[in-house]
């Protein structure tokens, strides 16, 4: 299984009935593909839609029904559309149960950097700062390393997205929970040893008594 699929499938297991969930662009988007059959979850698209359905079949798209990247989507039965003020009211007001975002770096305590690389890539924060600050639960979906360099670091070298720390980081190598300023290794990826996770991580890990392999 490729790293992205591992991450997306593992995160899909965090979904609970009735949750309002926002998925960022990239790996987070894949999570929607692995929602357990029959589990009722609301997906919010921050451009103003709850009840985002699959991409439309050919010839059945409408240019005014799109995801946050401007791509045509469909609306599930019971969908709702609204303006950007309400969309971020949902996000900031604590109504969003879960946000899944990509990450560039996460530090020891769970602070996330994911919106810019100074002088190199400045896409803007879009909704990321509101999502990380406002969602009830924040999960980062990212590969464990970038060009073999650890992305889970002692201190951020990139600008933080929020002062609020994230709850969970899921990579192809590990599931890490951040609590009380500590990075707790909860699970390892398929066929991965604890030692391999530690080697690929710069941050100091608190290792749980029993570290299971991820169930996917």
């Amino acid at each position: 299984m490729d790293p992205q699929t591992v991450i997306a499938r593992r995160i899909a297991r965090e979904l609970r009935p009735g949750m309002l969930v926002n998925l960022g662009i990239g790996i987070p988007t894949l999570v929607a593909k692995y929602v357990p059959e029959g589990l009722p979850v609301f997906f919010q698209s921050e451009n103003g839609l709850i009840g985002t359905g699959a991409p439309p079949e050919e010839g059945m798209a409408h240019p005014l029904l799109t995801d946050a990247a401007g791509r045509p989507v469909t609306a599930l039965p019971g969908a709702a559309t609204f303006d950007s003020a309400l969309s971020f009211g949902l996000i900031r007001g604590g109504h969003l149960d879960l946000t899944v975002l990509g990450g560039l770096q996460v530090d020891q305590e769970g602070r996330l950097a994911n919106w810019m690389i100074p002088g190199k890539m400045v896409p803007g924060m879009g909704g990321a700062m509101d999502l990380v600050t406002g969602a009830k639960r924040v999960i980062v979906a990212m590969q464990h390393t970038a060009k073999n360099a650890p992305k889970i670091v002692k201190s951020l070298t990139l600008p933080p997205t929020s002062a609020r720390t994230v709850d969970l980081v899921v990579t192809e190598l590990a599931v890490l929970a951040f609590r009380d300023g500590r990075a707790n290794l909860l699970e390892t990826g398929p066929g991965i040893s604890v030692a391999e996770v530690v080697a690929a991580t710069e941050a100091e890990l608190t290792i749980a008594e029993t570290v299971h392999e991820m169930t996917l």
Binding site: S45, T66, V122, M129, G134
Partner: protein, 217 residues
């Protein structure tokens, strides 16, 4: 409210004006108003919008033709040209978290001086701003934004100026309609007065200044 031709509507905008433009990745952007701004060659514009779309679409076209002096937006990631101009120092770009941007505009339109948000605390967004504590919790004071013009895309308008929006093309449109001195609307469908049910009207008529005479799509 006046109903004007596309040409006369855009002719009202002087060089150097500040424009709020509806749309999210060009969805819900009044494309014909943008095209007419290009045709009339307006210059030195300030644009306040969610994003700068992508090259060849919506606000992306204004960036490409270098008609802008400043952009206030939350996201420019899908438009490499905006990033290039910003890094080359050719275009001033103020990046604002999306939820903060929409609330700042809403504050401007609703007569509020600003709002307190936790978003941006402890990040570069905090620089130069006041931190205010309420009941032991910290917030940033984010101030109201207004503009000379709002360029609004609506799905349906009536000839009084009542507006309704469709699906994800709503986004910033009803919010900017409240926050500008002059509101110019391009609607996909213009209906006789009395046809839109009152509950379906999202932007009430007295807010709209100019309705572009021909449908917008």
């Amino acid at each position: 409210m006046r109903t004007l031709s596309l040409e006369h509507s855009v002719a009202l905008i002087p060089d150097g004006a500040s424009l709020m433009i509806g749309g999210f990745m060009a969805v819900g952007t009044p494309e014909r108003l943008v095209d007419e701004i290009l045709r009339q060659g307006k210059r030195d514009l300030i644009v306040i919008a969610n994003d700068t779309a992508m090259p060849g679409k919506g606000i992306g076209k204004l960036v490409e033709k270098k008609l802008l002096r400043k952009v206030i937006a939350s996201h420019i990631g899908l438009n490499p040209e905006t990033q290039r101009q910003m890094m080359a120092g050719e275009l001033e770009v103020e990046l604002v978290p999306q939820g903060t941007l929409v609330e700042r505009i809403r504050a401007g339109g609703h007569g509020l001086g600003g709002i307190l948000t936790p978003t941006g605390l402890g990040t570069s967004v905090e620089e130069g701003k006041r931190r205010i504590t309420v009941d032991g919790k910290d917030y940033l004071l984010e101030t109201a934004l207004k503009a000379d013009f709002a360029l609004v895309h609506a799905f349906m308008a009536d000839y009084l100026g009542n507006l309704s929006y469709a699906l994800t093309a709503r986004n910033f449109n009803p919010v900017i309609a409240m926050a500008a001195e002059t509101v110019i609307v391009c609607a996909d469908h213009i209906m006789p007065v009395g046809v839109l049910p009152p509950d379906q009207v999202v932007t009430p008529a007295p807010i709209v200044d100019i309705l572009v005479a021909n449908p917008c799509s």
